[in-house]
Amino acid sequence: MFRAFRFIVDLFSQRHGVVAFAFFLALGLLMRQAPNVFRESIVSTVTSTIFYPVQLVANSLNEFRSLADENAHLKEENAKLRQETYHAREGLQELARLHTLVRFDDKWDYPIVTARVVGHNPGRFLTTLVVNRGSVHGVKENMPVFSMNGLVGKVTKADMGHSRVQLIVDPNLKLSVMERRTRVVGFLESMDGHLLTAMVPAHAGVKAGDTLVTSGLGGIFPKGIPVGTVKDVRKADIDVMRQMDVVPFQELSTLEEVFVMEKEPDWIIQELLDE
């Protein structure tokens, strides 16, 4: 066993590492050329067997350290929340009355699963999180994920005890959003895995400081989850549209806990996704 390992090391060290370089470069290129299904299986296997257990242990140590701080913070928050509960109850009663008046039936009546963030990209582009809740806890693919502050992303892969969450800054996630003041609908995306931009019709008059929420039109996210605020508005490549820089409500690099909404995609979207 040891001799075989030694032989491989010697082989790779030959010709000033050219053999090793050719081998690993070929592996990398093969990964680039592989179909998405195969890539997904590579990522799933490696995440489940190696990275998730390591991250879980590392995260547990990290969490232990922050427990005291969190306890003090929670006590303070609890006192505030007690005060707010009274006001919220009154607000809810008023809201219920208003809903009845306008026959508003678009409420979030989905169960929520609370999940702890146990891992994220070690690279400089944060596009994925790993959370400690999976299919055994009721989490399924394409379920919306949000935090106390706003939208976080959606579940892309639910394994048994953990899931992968695609963040809203992932360039592959395009999202239908609505501006809260003007009610105009547009779409949000990140072209570089770093900054969020949204496109809305030019006539809507959206300006800096306006708030974006999910529109509920994509079939995956329910209507009304806060997404972010408009930072800057400028002309888009198409004259009739405006492009906006968006600052998300939730700072994604500091997330510790998230909520998974047990909402499955609308049937028509599910059929499209299945295809």
């Binding site: 790779f12 590492g17 680039r32 390591v54 990209n121 992932d170 770093h194």
Partner: protein, 162 residues
């Protein structure tokens, strides 16, 4: 590279990634944080040569790729494998790299890795230019600062690779 060195590099590897996902975000200034993984790959390549450089570059790149969008799988892997090999070769040819030279190699490696990565991911030229100015340049400066501290602390501990 003997077994003990392999174990040391493995510990360094875990340490680099552990720090990258924890300390790097605390050190973040205006969203700019150092890339400890590139420092790790350059350090290993300088100390242990091109074979170890491209192996650990591959491992580091693949670890980063696992958490990237599935369409980008392999981009970091290829970029860091090339970085590890090139820096290792450079070290073999120039034999002794002093601390300023190592920092120069780190800077060059940082930009080359980013360019390979951006090229592979197929982003448009406008986006690449924007990312280069707003992310690559400031993060490179920050990484060089941290890297120069690491290289300074590591001076005189050079081991010859097999």
């Amino acid at each position: 590279m003997n077994n003990l060195n392999g174990l040391k590099i493995l510990i360094l590897f875990l340490l680099a990634f552990g720090l990258q996902v924890s300390v790097a975000s605390w050190l973040s200034i205006f969203g700019i944080s150092p890339d400890l993984v590139i420092i790790f790959v350059v350090t290993v390549s300088i100390k242990f040569g091109p074979a170890a450089g491209c192996f650990w570059g591959f491992m580091a790149g693949f670890t980063q790729d696992v958490y990237q969008p599935i369409e980008w799988l392999g981009a970091n892997t290829i970029a860091l494998t090339i970085l590890g090999f090139v820096v290792g070769q450079l070290e073999e040819k120039l034999l002794t790299l002093n601390t300023p030279a190592k920092v120069g190699v780190l800077a060059l490696g940082f930009f080359v890795t980013d360019m390979i990565y951006y090229g592979i991911t197929g982003l448009s030229r406008d986006i690449i230019t924007n990312l280069f100015l707003t992310k690559s340049v400031p993060e490179c400066a920050y990484t060089l600062f941290i890297g120069s501290i690491v290289f300074y602390l590591d001076r005189g501990k050079k081991k010859r690779h097999a």
